[in-house]
């Protein structure tokens, strides 16, 4: 674990101890412990089926661990969730307009009516969706839907943004758009915890990498170290398997 000092961030460090999750007698997350103190972008990397999505849901409190515990700074997972937002792999967009999706979040969170339009416009602008506000959300292209899901997560200015494979099934231009957006958000001080199975994407975005395989956390290291010389043989194999030649 990288023993860096926690940055000035109310929800850090994120600490997991002996985290386990099982369903129907099958263990999906197996005794995972980690410590994340830096507000840089953390990428959970691993092959499909490794347990990345389950891990992110555990961190966000959408699933209850069957063993172990998670804490965000001083807070429990459910307390911390109020200051977090998540965009899942297949974003659930409401059957409303693009604007309607953002307004829904603001109304749920009790933001004053008079403040809502400005926040909506700012979020759309940031996500590159300005001008699409009146479109039905579910008629947008895949990349636009992903960006709307992120815009919707951002509209409340969360302290932590959890992104589950935010660019799967997108074309390269859309991937670039979403990655740029993630870069901007991270630079503005929002802690980003995201998953990907895409090594190149992890290289482009990660400050630190958590390598997950078959429910186990095999390595957690600063990105530069991890990509230069992974200590875990499975991680090394995973990286090598994706190299050209």
């Amino acid at each position: 674990m990288p023993p860096d000092r926690p940055d000035e961030h109310p929800l850090l460090p994120l600490v997991a101890r002996g985290l386990t999750f099982g369903i129907n007698g099958r263990r999906i997350i197996k005794d995972v412990s980690f410590w994340i103190g830096s507000s840089g972008r953390t990428v959970i990397l691993g092959p499909n089926g490794a347990g990345k999505s389950v891990m992110l849901r555990l961190c966000h409190g959408l699933l209850e661990p069957t063993g172990g515990e998670i804490r965000w700074g001083e807070l429990s997972v459910s307390q911390a969730r109020e200051q977090q937002a998540m965009a899942s792999q297949h974003p659930v967009l409401l059957r409303r307009t693009v604007k309607g999706n953002l307004l829904h979040v603001l109304s749920v969170k009790g933001v004053a009516r008079s403040e809502r339009p400005a926040l909506v416009d700012a979020a759309l602008e940031r996500a590159g969706l300005a001008g699409l506000g009146a479109r039905a959300a579910r008629t947008l292209s895949g990349g636009q839907q992903q960006r709307l899901a992120i815009a919707r997560a951002l509209v409340l200015r969360p302290k932590v943004l959890l992104l589950d494979e935010p660019t799967t099934n997108l074309d390269p231009a859309a991937v670039r758009g979403v990655e740029e957006l993630i870069g901007v958000i991270g630079a503005a001080g929002t802690k980003i915890l995201m998953t990907t199975h895409d090594i190149a994407q992890a290289r482009r975005l990660a400050a630190d990498v958590m390598f997950l395989n078959d429910g186990r956390l095999l390595e957690h290291a600063p990105a530069a170290e991890f990509f230069a010389a992974p200590k875990d043989p499975v991680a090394a194999g995973f990286l090598a398997g994706e190299l050209p030649g």
């Binding site: 849901r57 966000h60 959408l62 969730r81 109020e82 937002a85 998540m86 899942s88 659930v92 967009l93 409401l94 059957r95 409303r96 829904h104 979040v105 749920v108 969170k109 039905a136 959300a137 579910r138 008629t139």
Partner: protein
């Protein structure tokens, strides 16, 4: 054949001239069935939502029962309501038998399971899809239900229209508890059923035309609404 075509001619002229007898009957039909659907909806929509969202022991059985009740034979409902409202029945003293109110009660019972079962399905499907997002946002139960009802509004409207289609075309219950009394409890279906055998073909055909138009119109409108909503909102 000649008798038939002259009956059609007479029926059409009754319709286009807004014949008083026809207008009275059509208006009572609409009043009874719309009231029944309104009353049933007030109970069925919250009931459907409750069953869709609340975990309780025996929920599966309740869902099966509700779906089975969609096929409740109207005559049997009519018989039950008759027994309740008849002079000797528990609600006899209220003197409701053979009034439009009795017909509204019977039709409410017939359409309630239809609207409740269809809206339960709608809300359960939406909930399965939205649940994680709503929990991520930290929605209160009321906020969740409001979101689901709003996003399901077109499908819920379709459920209500299905209930109306069933009520307006139903004859078995209203004939038993209404009695087809002229100027009091005659609706389209009961008039058709009884006037045909009396040889009053023009009136029966005229009402039949209106009833068919209404029933098909309601179904077509329901389809158009749900298609338009799907195109607009996905």
């Amino acid at each position: 054949m000649n008798e038939f075509s002259s009956a059609i001619g007479a029926a059409l002229s009754m319709i286009v001239t807004f014949d008083a007898a026809i207008v009275e009957i059509v208006l009572l039909s609409l009043r009874v069935s719309l009231s029944a659907v309104a009353i049933a909806s007030v109970v069925a929509l919250p009931l459907g939502a409750l069953i869709a969202l609340q975990h309780f022991p025996g929920r599966r059985a309740v869902v099966i029962l509700l779906n089975a009740l969609m096929g409740l034979p109207p005559v049997v409902v009519g018989l039950m309501v008759y027994l309740l409202l008849s002079r000797a029945g528990p609600l006899g003293p209220m003197g409701l038998l053979f009034t439009p109110t009795a017909m509204v009660i019977a039709q409410s019972i017939i359409v309630l399971p239809i609207i409740a079962a269809l809206s339960r399905q709608t809300i359960a499907d939406l909930h399965e899809e939205y649940d994680e997002h709503l929990r991520s946002l930290g929605c209160t139960p009321i906020q969740s239900v409001a979101t689901l009802l709003w996003d399901g509004r077109f499908r819920l409207l379709t459920a209500i229209m299905a209930g109306f289609g069933r009520a307006i075309a139903e004859v078995g219950a209203v004939i038993i508890v209404g009695g087809n009394i002229q100027h009091a409890t005659r609706v389209m279906t009961t008039t058709i059923a009884l006037e045909t055998s009396k040889g009053n073909l023009a009136l029966a055909l005229g009402l039949g035309l209106i009833l068919v138009t209404l029933a098909l119109g309601v179904n077509a409108t329901a389809l158009v609404i749900s298609d338009a909503a799907r195109q607009r909102y996905g």
